[in-house]
Symmetry: C2
Subunit: 351 residues, 2 copies
DNA sequence: TTGAAAGCGGTACCAA
DNA sequence: TTGGTACCGCTTTCAA
């Protein structure tokens, strides 16, 4: 083999193609970019040359010549929950590095758990000024159809954090939430020595990620820990106050709780309650996402473990995937896989 | 503010600088690249223009013009231990994506635990043909001095996996191994309910990462688990056979072992022994690195948890850091932080 | 349907 | 000490 990418030989350029195919640069470009106005026969000649030479386009040079800037949009729920806020901050922090990479990302905040708003926002995107969009929102048929329309208009779409598998989104950027729930259950079971009553705090039955986490959690409890029981489930709608208000009732009904799986947002409400009743230290608490609240709860021993996904990685990965899809360029699947992180006090990354 | 990187205004180019400073392109280039032959006064004028315009060099365009190819070297121990092998494979797998990014990485395998070989390899690197080197090896004074010489010659140096803090290496790419050891101890303690006798398998006292892991492990046992005891420590030199051979003796002396912390390589030897004696399932075993052996041991319940660092991330991060250092460009610290991963069966990423 | 040539943001050679 | 200019790999306008 003499793959020029692997060997020390110079990489073939458009000029090489032109020479080999016996055509001009302009024609090579037309074929390369699928522009019309080239005879079939000529197209074939050029494609042969491309194949023969093992040509791979230099994206940097192409973007330079084009003066291209990738315009991306992030559709996020408008909420003050810490995970989403840090997702936003991550986008802001990436502004300059992205700009150096010919990429501009815009945030659009939408009322949470409202499919209509999401649909409207998607339908509002003009393909002329938008290359790609990352969607973090509920999976409903209307949303999926809007996603499909967006793609049909030529805008790349990735689902962020919560998947939209019933749509034709290009990619999903986030963790396997069933696996996350399973992981939480395994930790809970091991930490509790396999016995005890557990409370699960979930967010919304509309949020696919929340539902999946519960599914996973319940499955492992059932499979592996016969003496562990989920005695109560509360729905906190990702709202600290809502969580806070429901807890006293639960503890009155089940005074012997030994574990809590906080599978969504609203942890400040939980921590607040646990500190007030000083129940935190005798309970095993497993929560999601390395937020400031979770960090300090882990630090003080109120939380025992955290399941998390790295916000920086989510944003960078979504960005890379949208750009690659927009150019329909290949990408490194292993690099784009978001890991389901487990954090104990000991392996928390420094802030 | 009118930062052109953030605003929609066009980014300033060398031409803008030339115009504003009233000099030619060539002079701007001289100043930008610190080339000699420019009057002080002119240099100042150009620098003023640069500052005033908020100019940031377009690295892609610069590299295109220069025909630059980054030449990187990875110095790795020559061993068949799975972690190192998968590090090598990762380098191989990155060959094509790197080539597309004007980067060529070369592996050099050296006899393990032999500082002299490492020193010789470093001193052998020609700055004319090498932009950066990643070093995975023991920290000895001779090695540190060689690292310093290499840097002095103008080659970027990062320590990989095992830090070289006594040297002037540009960066360390790897996890905090003390934290990794602490994490292992915390898991061990929780999984064992805080009581039991534990065996620690280490690699070599010459390897800084191995020593640090033990330090962290011992510290948490001492701090948090008074009824947990490290009753024996064996040094396996990252060699499966060596590990395998020492185990029967340990188990004869301490038949009541309830946990094993395998803090280095050589896991095939350990798994082999555990399967033979069918001791695996009553012991709590915590090991390092998501290798194939570890994967299947986790799957079958022979291992209970894994501490790991992502090989792909290690290689990509080392590569980005070496290139950024070579160009002395800034980089995103949070992106380059290697996480100390915890894997249970439930959150193992698919192969 | 095709080609010549200018230009994207830099670099570097050669001449002045 | 300085400037003019060709060129890196690719795109795009204009003319043929």
């Amino acid at each position: 083999m003499s793959d020029p990418l692997v060997q020390n030989t110079r990489k073939p350029t458009v000029n090489d193609i032109a020479r080999v195919a016996g055509v001009s640069l302009a024609t090579v470009d037309r074929v390369l970019n699928g522009r019309s106005g080239v005879r079939e026969a000529t197209i074939d000649r050029v494609n042969c040359a491309i194949a023969e030479l093992g040509y791979v386009r230099d994206t940097a040079a192409a973007n330079l010549a084009r003066g291209r800037v990738y315009q991306l949009v992030f559709l996020l729920p408008e909420t003050n929950n810490e995970f989403v806020v840090s997702l936003e901050r991550e986008i802001d922090d990436q502004t300059i590095p992205m700009a150096l990479d010919r990429t501009r990302a815009r945030k659009v905040l939408l009322p949470p758990f409202e499919p209509e708003a999401l649909v409207a926002a998607l339908d509002d995107l003009d393909a002329a000024t938008n290359d790609g969009v990352a969607v973090f929102g509920p999976e409903t048929p209307a949303v999926c159809e809007a996603v499909n329309r967006t793609r049909a208009r030529g805008i790349a779409v990735v689902a962020l954090v919560s998947d939209l598998p019933s749509s034709e989104r290009d990619h999903f950027v986030g963790i396997d939430n069933v696996a996350a729930g399973r992981t939480a259950a395994q930790l809970m079971g091991r930490f509790l020595g396999g016995v005890g009553d557990v409370l699960v705090i979930t967010g919304s039955h509309l949020a696919r990620d929340h539902v999946e986490r519960r599914t996973g959690f319940d499955a492992v409890i059932a499979e592996a820990f016969p003496n562990l029981k989920v005695v109560s489930v509360i729905e906190g709608r990702d709202d600290s106050d809502a969580v806070r208000q429901q807890l006293p009732g639960v503890f009155k009904t089940f005074p012997n709780l030994s574990g809590i799986y906080s599978s969504a947002a609203g942890n400040p409400g939980l921590v607040d309650f646990l500190n007030d009743t000083s129940a935190g230290h005798r309970l095993t608490v497993i929560a999601h996402d390395l937020t400031n609240t979770a960090r300090s709860a882990l630090e003080t021993g109120v939380f025992d473990a955290l399941i998390s996904q790295n916000e920086g990685h989510l944003i960078r990965s979504a960005t890379r995937l949208l750009k690659a899809t927009a150019d329909n360029r290949p990408f490194d699947h292993t690099q784009e896989r978001i890991r389901t992180d487990i954090y104990l006090k000991e392996n928390m990354p420094p802030v």
